[in-house]
């Protein structure tokens, strides 16, 4: 157990270093883009005078390293600063968006993970049957189609057509979530994007579940279980699955990370106010503090989820949990 604590501490320290490097790379990247915030905001309406006045007020005329160090100093003290574009507190700006993103990711995960595991175990159980092939073809087709295409197909059937068939069941194509609404209203609002994301991530997790179980089916202890005359279902659930968790957990966690950081397109199609749209807008206007804050959150998501995956892999594997 002691070893586990050391590991977590080590990984967190490395994580902080990674975050620092990420922030530096992002800052340099945004700096290298043509144009600056003043030009992006004033657009065609920019005049030399208004540009100069805005740069002066926002401190954009300071050299880059000064601006970066100022920002870093603030972060270390827990101050994310204010958005250059509209002067709002970044914590306030990001807070709601982050909550929205996490809500969508959780709903999508709650639907996709159980489905992927069940489909995967069943596919391993009925390997090379019509069921197995059918599931593979369906999930692989879903993952091969671009996200916006899957999204539009779902809108066509579950939103537009459904209105003609069963108006009560039709799902909104605008996922306007409001936190003052009840839980079920919010759930109703995010169902279409969550289903889209489910179709996009299920294949990966399901195929990993199937593959790792099938891998184990060739090992001697499974052969032993077979010889004992156990049923196939029992062999797979009680003997193979516990040993297959590590790779499955890794894939699930990677997909969870994707659900949080990689859903810009789905957010755009369903007009969902999440973090993805915020960071795209912020990059377009060169609003560096917002870009930095968003990318730190994204990087932290990957680091924390990977750490979770490693811990879970250790916990589920007695040999790693109690090394000799």
């Amino acid at each position: 157990m002691n070893k586990l604590v050391t590991l977590v501490a080590q990984r967190l320290a490395l994580g902080c270093l990674t975050l620092f490097i990420v922030s530096l790379i992002i800052f340099l990247g945004v700096e290298a883009l043509p144009g600056d915030l003043a030009q992006a905001i004033l657009g065609q309406a920019a005049t030399e005078d208004s540009l100069a006045a805005m740069r002066e007020r926002l401190g954009l005329n300071l050299p880059p390293h000064t601006r970066y160090l100022q920002w870093l100093g603030g972060i270390v003290q827990g101050d994310f600063g204010t958005s250059l574009a509209n002067n709002r507190e970044i914590t306030e700006l990001i807070g709601v968006r982050l909550a929205n993103t996490l809500f969508l990711a959780l709903v999508a995960a709650a639907i996709s993970v159980p489905i992927a595991l069940i489909l995967g175990v069943l596919a391993a159980l009925y390997r090379n049957t019509w069921y197995d092939r059918g599931v593979n073809v369906f999930t692989l087709s879903a993952i091969s189609a671009p996200e916006f295409f899957v999204a539009y197909i779902l809108i066509l059937f579950l939103s537009v057509k459904m209105q003609g068939w069963f108006p009560a069941l039709s799902l909104p194509s605008l996922s306007n979530v409001r936190w003052e609404d009840g839980f079920f209203d919010r759930l109703h609002a995010v169902l279409l994007p969550a289903l889209t994301l489910t179709l996009v991530v299920v294949a990966h997790m399901m195929r990993m579940t199937r593959a790792s179980i099938i891998n184990l089916l060739a090992s001697p202890y499974i052969e032993m279980a077979n010889l004992k005359g156990l049923s196939r279902g029992r062999i797979i659930l009680h003997h193979a699955l516990p040993n297959a968790w590590a790779p499955i957990i890794n894939v699930i966690v990677l997909n969870l990370a994707y659900l949080i950081v990689g859903v810009v397109i789905v957010e755009v199609v369903f007009v969902y106010p999440g973090l993805g749209k915020l960071i795209v807008d912020a990059v377009r206007t060169r609003d560096i503090p917002v870009v930095q804050a968003c990318s730190l959150i994204f990087a932290a998501t990957y680091i924390l989820l990977n750490l979770t995956a490693d811990i879970l892999a250790i916990v589920t594997n007695p040999r790693l949990l109690h090394p000799r």
Partner: protein, 532 residues
């Protein structure tokens, strides 16, 4: 159903325009008096109060702010008109009417303007609107270090004084007969004065709707201002604005009934949308236009024959059909549209057509066999800009012009390409007055003089016409200016784009709509109503 019952029904349901109706009616032999009364009956489908209306907007960004000086996209312009009133208003027929100003008058040289304010207009917070608020609201955009986009409008103002609670006096640095038009600009709402400046942070105004919530780039919610002074306006109980930047998502939202109206439907699929029952596609022809400005101080565009060749080598009609899908009309290389007061008629200034032979002739005049120029463009310039440039390239090839379309990134387009490079793409929302438009884009000192055009005759006409109060004389000057631009200027303006939107049938409006901006001059919020 007899034929004239059917006709009556069409007229009542609003599916027939007045002009069509009168034409059909006379064909059927219905007397003029009867037909007019029939139509009035239809038009009198009186507005009804109430309803929660929702709109899907093509614009709206997380960087939007409540500061009036920063407003530039449709979303913020509309919030501006929802929450605020202005000194003057452009009415549905394009004429200027007073809003907060009850009346106004100019000194003889049009340098001093006195506005008398309406009494008893209140802000959302209950305060009465006074002359001090007007002064503070204008001063917000003036002074050293102003970042306001309204800078060019307020810079000619040398002094603003409140005379009592209800009179404001503006002094300008030169005569301007159009000054009352300028103060209708969406950047200059009248906000409550506070300390040294105005209180824009709270969103309080004196307009038809009160802001309840606003998340920049996502959505905004408004409810009716119960004390609004215009009793025949502002029919909805609540309005919800949602930023739906993706065109396909906007169409979906309308089809699934989640919004009642969307701005800027995708023109490529708008005909499909129109086929759905219960959805109307509507458009107004205003002053908005797309162009390819050539900077006349850069070779080879410093030669007017080269400019003439390029102007004859573009097929305007084809661009209108293919890029605007017919929802617009050909331009004549000056920024004044028929919606303006002093637009040059066909007799005064014939419409330029596509004529590769004339283009070749002008090339020869310039001493060239063929010409190769770069057109630097991005879709940021206007919707379909790159496609328009590609079409132009094919058309110009027939005149021996090798037009090289250089695709630039959208990012930074307005800073690094437009108004910098010699041949680019541009769009303008247009301005309600000739002076305003010319001063913005063709004054020799204007920041946005995108063609670097400096012509002494033009400049002196511009300054004379500005303070000229005699209508026929003024008209003559503006027509001459349009002629100068069209035949010598650097502006290549092939098309004027209509404002197009799509709405559900139960969202109603008067027959006449303003064309100065999209969506009934962005005043749909107070002019339209929901039925049923």
């Amino acid at each position: 159903m007899t034929k004239d019952d059917h006709l009556k029904k069409l007229a009542m349901s609003g599916r027939l325009s007045r002009r069509d109706f009168v034409a059909y009616a006379s064909a059927l032999g219905i007397g003029a008096a009867a037909s007019t009364s029939m139509f009035v009956g239809a038009a009198k489908a009186a507005p009804v109060r109430g309803g929660d209306v929702r709109i899907g907007h093509a614009h709206g960004s997380t960087t939007d702010s409540l500061d009036p000086g920063t407003w530039e996209n449709d979303f913020t312009i509309e919030l501006s008109f929802a929450a605020n009133n202005f000194l003057t208003e452009i009415a549905a027929d394009g004429s200027l009417v007073g809003e907060l100003a009850e009346s106004w008058e100019a000194s003889d040289d049009a340098m001093q303007w006195t506005f008398v304010l309406r009494k008893d207009v209140t802000f959302h917070n209950g305060k009465t609107v006074t002359a001090a608020d007007v002064v503070a609201s204008f001063n917000h955009h003036r002074g050293e270090g102003s970042e306001s986009a309204a800078g060019p409008i307020v810079s000619p103002i040398t002094d603003i004084q409140a005379d009592g609670d209800n009179v404001v006096v503006f002094t300008l640095n030169g005569g301007n007969a159009d000054f009352p038009f300028l103060v209708s600009d969406y950047h200059i709402p009248i906000k409550p004065a506070e300390d040294e400046g105005i209180d824009w942070q709270s969103g309080v105004g004196c307009g038809p709707y009160v802001m309840e919530s606003w998340e920049p780039g996502v959505s905004a919610r408004f409810k009716r201002h119960e004390g609004y002074w215009k009793t025949d306006r502002a029919w909805f109980d609540t309005i919800e604005y949602t930023a739906v930047v993706d065109a396909a998502a906007r169409g979906n939202a309308l089809v699934t009934g989640e919004v009642h109206v969307i701005s800027r439907p995708d023109l490529k699929t708008v005909e499909l949308l129109a086929r759905r029952p219960g959805i109307d596609i509507e458009e107004t022809s205003g002053t908005a236009h797309y162009g390819f400005p050539m900077r006349v101080d850069a070779a080879p565009f410093d030669n007017n024959d080269v400019r003439e060749a390029l102007k004859w080598a573009i097929d305007r009609e084809e661009l209108v059909q293919k890029i605007l899908k017919g929802r617009g009309f050909a331009g004549n290389d000056h920024p004044i549209s028929p919606a303006n007061r002093y637009h040059a008629t066909e007799e005064e200034l014939p419409q330029r057509t596509y004529d590769p032979d004339k283009a070749k002739f002008h090339l020869k005049q310039a001493g060239m066999e063929n010409l190769s120029v770069n057109l630097q463009i991005a879709d940021a310039a206007f919707a379909g800009a790159v496609n328009a440039a590609e079409l132009y390239r094919e058309q110009a090839a027939a005149a021996g012009i090798d037009l090289v379309v250089v695709r630039e990134p959208d990012d930074g387009y307005w800073s690094n390409i437009w108004n910098v490079q010699p041949f680019t793409g541009t769009y303008w929302g247009g301005r309600p007055t000739e002076d305003w438009m010319f001063t913005t884009t063709h004054d020799k000192n204007a920041e946005w003089n995108e063609t670097a055009f400096k012509d002494d005759t033009f400049q002196s006409l511009l300054e004379q016409a500005r303070s000229e109060l005699d209508e026929p004389k003024r008209r003559e000057m503006y027509v001459e200016m349009q002629r100068i631009l069209s035949t010598q200027g650097g502006s290549l303006i092939p098309m004027f784009n209509n404002y197009v939107w799509a709405k559900t049938e139960n969202l109603k409006h008067e027959e006449q709509m303003a064309a100065n901006w999209d969506l009934d001059g962005h005043k749909w919020q107070e002019r339209w109503w929901l039925e049923g």
